[in-house]
């Protein structure tokens, strides 16, 4: 049982995190725009998260925290 927390305001919508999630649960939230003007990344189905932290590892803007 793991959890990822996004500091959305830091997100630049680069999508790198979405390419590395083994569970494919990281997606871009095209409905919202942060103050920087980007669609932030987010996680759907958090319960599937295994806390591997790949998303956080590849995020260039240190947006993601992972708990496990």
């Amino acid at each position: 049982m793991a959890k990822v927390i996004f500091d959305e305001e830091l997100c630049k919508g680069c999508q790198l995190c979405t390419t590395v999630c083994p569970k494919n649960i990281v997606i871009m939230d095209t409905k919202r725009i942060n103050s920087k003007g980007y669609h932030p990344a987010t996680v759907i189905e958090m319960d599937k998260c295994i806390g591997c932290a790949f998303c956080a590892r590849i995020c260039p803007d240190v947006v993601i925290e992972v708990e496990k």
């Binding site: 919508g13 790198l16 390419t19 590892r57 590849i58 260039p60 993601i64 992972v66």
Partner: protein
Amino acid sequence: MAKVFERPKALTDKPFHYCPGCTHGIIHCLIAEVIDELGIREKTVGVAPVGCAVFAYEYFNCDMHEAAHGRAPAVATGIKRVLPDNVVFTYQGDGDLASIGIAEIVHAANRGEKITTIFVNNAIYGMTGGQMAPTSLLGQVTATSPYGRDPETEGHPIKVSEMLATLEGVAYIERVSVHDIRNINRAKRAIKKAFQVQLEGKGFAMIEVLSTCPTNWGMTPVESLKWVKENMIPYYPLGVKKEVD
């Protein structure tokens, strides 16, 4: 629940100014984690380059110098000679280190200065808007190689790590990449080693990190990682170029 990933202490809270998906950010994060893990933040002095990473002095949570373009190794030498017990590292781009600063890096390496250099090779001049770097690949179109880099007139991309590895004073040189998780983890191990080499007083250590410039490459961040894998790594083979123990 325990944190398995959080912002390293050796980074300030300041958000990076880098473009979306620029891997400068990943490399910053790795260096900061290594500083935390080695518990050397309090005695570390960093030297920022002139390049997109010029603001590194705002991101690394330790004492910092902002050097003149290409001269970081000379600045680091001055610092290290005054503070031999501190840990001194430079963070330099490929224009900074391989072009204008090649003399300073060659001689710091040859003197065996006990410093650690993180060499970020993104095959281009990012900050000034995408001019050719000595590391730009053959055929690569840039602002100053509009018809693609031509070996006849501009020469071949320079392999700095292989060149410096010929020098006696070098204790450790490795080339790494951050285009996927496995390589990011390898890169971190290499960077950690490069700091340990300094702590052990063995000599000069440098890690060349293949990095991206989505903005000036004209690609998405995801395409950029692919470009590193498919175009840069074949020309710039990863691995240890020199190691003394």
